[in-house]
């Protein structure tokens, strides 16, 4: 008998008195010890499906018009709270995407884990303490006294995710639901966590329901795959079959959506647009009553970088390596030491006012398309801003025409300029950010993780757009990303950063094909094979 059997399941949400279907008639089964992956883009209904198995949706706002969910032959739909308590955490546990917000910041690690033990297993304090040590050992965390008494903020992202897994495993569940378990983590940590999950599955014989948007993870982890879009499972097949011979158009689209292609080729002897020599950005660490500076965080430590017209320099590294700081320092948005030259002229010592005319030539696009657009300004006002600074007020009609032309260039309807940013999807918002940078016809753009917050298929579109714009206007890019696949599709030269220093640099092919240092090798293996070195 299958562990989980979902038949004809539909989920609706009541919004303003109307039932809005979120998931329509899906069916799947999970056997003991196997892994099923649900793949889909944001809003496809995959997380809702997972939550419905645990009956964790906001009932009665959510409802199941049809279908059944059998856990070990028992239909959980409509089951009372007492019954569900026995299933949740005991038979089925769940790990979430964001390990910071899923842990209670006020409880120590020990308390987080032994809570389930005390509630579900009825263990006494001593037994629970022993079990917590066992569990931490299982997920590869050393159970020292310090670690047990640590609070979530004292752990790194990967360690927090391990604690989450330890909590989920506390009662030896038959099924582990992993909802985007590695999305918030760095690539090398992601590889470690995936390896850990696989190993635990083999050792404990539990089934995993993996929810993800990353096909690479699916291929590595799952036995069977369900592809979901708009609340419907469009294709369900064994993993190998799905990857080698996809049947549905949407699956094909997803498989092809990986950022592909090569950077646009241009003349080698292009003029240098911007260069930074021996850049240093130090943040002081202040301690004591008098706030004396005791040490510095060396966010960017003696780094030189140069970008030529029409070329892209990719900056690669894990979070906290100082990539974004370097970008901001180059634009003089952060104070730095060292020399910065734009088109051969030093700009390091220019005042803010002297720098203003130059600002139209050097631009930036940020990672999060939600926080980088002011929610109170219309799209037109956002894109228009640079024009107002650099070209005065001028003719309103002309300006509107230029805005709508620029918007169309990045693939947004020009008539949309009177709408607010929140009416647009993430990908569209990122296009608006690009339009804002583009309208001044800059020569150099810092792209700070422009694709990281977007769905896979949208990422590919944005990469294509950026490449088209580069070849059209001969733009110089500084492309900051932790996503090596995207960097490979964009960059001519790559800098690998770690802890504020350059670990390795060189032409893109050389870095990707024959990395020299161990760190770069580990990074490549984690990114492309999802494996640790």
């Amino acid at each position: 008998m299958a562990l989980i059997k979902v038949e004809n399941l539909a989920i609706s949400f009541k919004i303003k008195g109307k039932d809005i279907p979120a998931v329509k008639n899906i069916s799947f089964e999970i056997e003991h010890g196997e892994t099923l992956a649900i793949v889909g883009e944001s809003g496809s209904g995959k997380s809702v499906t997972a939550l419905s198995i645990l009956q964790l949706l906001p009932y009665p706002l959510a409802s199941h018009p049809t279908g059944s969910i059998h856990v070990d032959g028992f239909n959980v739909i409509g089951a009372d709270d007492a019954t569900m308590h026995k299933i949740r955490g005991n038979k089925i546990s769940m790990i979430f995407q964001e390990p910071m917000t899923s842990l209670n910041p006020l409880h120590t690690i020990e308390k987080q884990i032994n809570e389930t033990l005390l509630i579900h297993k009825g263990m006494n304090k001593k037994q629970a303490a022993n079990r917590v040590r066992e569990l931490l050992d299982l997920v590869g965390l050393e159970a020292t006294e310090d670690r047990l008494n640590a609070f979530p903020h004292q752990l790194s992202g990967g360690q927090r995710q391990r604690v989450m897994i330890a909590m989920a495993l506390a009662n030896e569940p038959d099924l582990l639901i992993a909802d985007e378990p590695t999305t918030a983590l760095d690539v090398t940590i992601q590889a470690q966590i995936l390896e850990l999950l696989k190993e635990l599955q083999e050792r404990l014989g539990m089934a995993i329901l993996l929810i993800t948007h990353d096909l690479g993870i699916v291929r590595r982890m799952a036995k069977t795959v369900c592809v979901m879009t708009d609340g419907v499972v469009v294709e369900q097949a064994p993993t190998e079959e799905l990857f080698t011979s996809p049947k549905h158009d949407y699956t094909k689209m997803l498989l092809e959506a990986e950022p592909k292609g090569l950077p646009y080729r241009k003349e080698i002897n292009a003029a240098e647009i911007i260069r930074g020599d021996n850049l240093k950005v130090y943040f002081p660490i202040k301690k004591g009553l008098l706030k004396r500076t005791v040490d510095y965080v060396r966010a960017v430590d003696d780094i030189s970088v140069s970008v030529k017209a029409g070329h892209t320099v990719g900056i690669v590294g894990e979070s906290g390596s100082g990539k974004s700081t370097l970008g901001l320092a180059l634009l003089r948005l952060l104070k730095s030491e060292g020399e910065i030259a734009y088109c051969g002229k030093s700009i390091q010592n220019k005042s803010w006012n002297e720098l203003r005319p130059l600002r139209s030539d050097i631009q930036i696009v940020f990672q999060d398309p939600y926080s980088s657009l002011s929610p109170r300004l219309s799209v037109g006002q956002i894109v228009e801003e640079g024009l107002l600074v650099h070209q005065g007020n001028g003719d309103r009609e002309e300006r509107r025409a230029l805005i709508s032309k620029t918007l169309e260039e990045v693939g947004i309807d020009g008539n949309a300029q009177d709408r607010y940013p929140h009416e647009f999807s993430g990908g569209q918002r990122q296009r608006i950010s690009i339009a804002r940078a583009l309208i001044l016809k800059p020569k150099f753009i810092v792209l700070d993780e422009p694709t990281s917050a977007l769905d896979m298929s949208v990422q590919a579109q944005i990469v294509d757009l950026l490449r088209d714009l580069q070849s059209k206007y001969d733009l110089a890019y500084l492309f900051i990303s932790h996503d090596l696949k995207v960097v490979r599709a964009m960059a001519d030269t790559v800098l690998v950063m770690k802890n504020g220093k350059i670990v390795e640099q060189g032409p893109a092919e050389q870095i990707f094909d024959t990395p020299q240092t161990t760190y770069t090798k580990a990074l490549m293996k984690a990114a492309f094979d999802l494996a640790t070195l």
């Binding site: 930036i364 999060d368 980088s372 002011s374 929610p375 219309s378 009177d418 804002r436």
Partner: protein, 342 residues
């Protein structure tokens, strides 16, 4: 005037909130009517025809001799003698709906003042024989005007102070915050009472005095909003575009902190009206004889046998404050782009 599409949308959002919309119509409607209080309640006629000539006594001062009387002083149109003079010449008179101004004393009361409501004085008279309805109409005008002006002035000062503190932060913020704490620690009511006792209070002086203590209420919210949003990516993007500090403050930060400032405005407005009323109630407010709701409340307290005084003042105040509150609640919601309406 053509509204920009965004403002049109805000207007639509505002109209969709029916409670706020109707409150605004009532509140402003009543205010507009009270602005023309001289036409609604006055002891001088609007128009007089006398010997083929037209007179507008509510605008122009005519001596009694103009109508064939004896005195060089202004004609008392409520005097039966003057009315008779006009009548005899074949003329006619158009009176306002209420034939009393806020200072007019009705000497023909059937019972001693304060007299109860009747057909002549719809809401009765106060303890000096003045018509309560007339005084309420004039009092509403003063209260609302005072409240609105004080709110506008204190939000300008408060928002600017909060914006400067939040945007520049650091030492500026630190010094301002300490000053505000000292300022906030002062016993404002006693200072007002002492100052009001020293200076003869007028409308403007009272406005200034209350302004001294009402502006800090907005500083905190605006400062917090600025501190939060000055590190947002869209502010960074604006800095990368070379936008000036002043423009960033006005265009990016201010609109985004407006909702929290607007959230506080109803309290500032109602608070302003209430503090004027309470000063009047204590007899420290507007000069004696001014039509004020606070003074009416005080009379109600002094004349418990005449409940129409207290009840009238209470009803007017509560309706006014409630309408003002609903109105601004609607405005606040209309400016919030994330709020969706049915």
């Amino acid at each position: 005037m053509q509204l920009s599409p965004i403002n049109q949308r805000r207007l639509e959002n505002f109209k969709a909130n029916r409670r706020g919309y109707w409150s605004m119509i009532l509140f402003l409607g009543l205010f507009v009517i009270s602005l023309f209080a001289e036409v609604v309640a006055n002891d001088k006629p609007l128009l007089i025809s006398h010997k083929g000539e037209l007179y507008t006594p509510f605008l122009v001062t005519y001596p009694e001799t103009a109508f064939g009387g004896d005195f060089e002083t202004e004609a008392d149109y409520r005097d039966p003698f003057v009315a008779e003079l006009i009548e005899e010449s074949g003329g006619w008179t158009i009176w306002p709906i209420i034939r009393y101004s806020y200072t007019t004393i009705n000497y023909d009361l059937k019972s001693p003042a304060p007299s109860s409501p009747d057909l002549e004085n719809w809401l009765g008279t106060d303890d000096q024989g003045r018509d309560v309805l007339a005084r309420v109409i004039y009092g509403y005008r003063i209260s609302v005007a005072f409240g609105l002006i004080l709110t506008i002035l204190s939000s300008i000062i408060g928002v600017s102070a909060g914006a400067v503190q939040g945007y520049f932060g650091g030492a500026t913020d630190l010094i301002f915050q300490r000053l505000l704490e000292i300022w906030g620690g002062m016993p404002s009511l006693y200072i007002l009472i002492i100052l009001a006792a020293m200076i003869e209070p007028t409308f403007t002086i009272l406005l200034g005095l209350l302004l001294l203590f009402s502006w800090p209420s907005l500083v905190g919210v605006v400062r917090a909003e600025f501190l939060r949003s000055r590190n947002f990516d869209y502010v960074r993007a604006a800095r990368a575009l070379g936008v000036r500090d002043r423009v960033i403050i006005f265009k990016h930060l201010l609109p985004n902190s407006m909702v929290s400032a607007l959230t506080f405005l109803p309290f500032v407005l109602t608070g302003s009206i209430v503090s004027l009323t309470s000063l009047d109630f204590l007899g420290l407010g507007l000069p004696p004889g001014s039509p004020s709701l606070g003074e009416l409340l005080a009379q109600g307290k002094a004349n418990l046998q005449a409940p129409w005084l207290g009840i009238t003042a209470f009803m007017v105040l509560s309706v006014m404050l409630t309408l003002a509150f609903f109105m601004q609640e609607g405005i606040r919601d209309a400016f919030d782009p994330r709020k969706t309406f049915k």
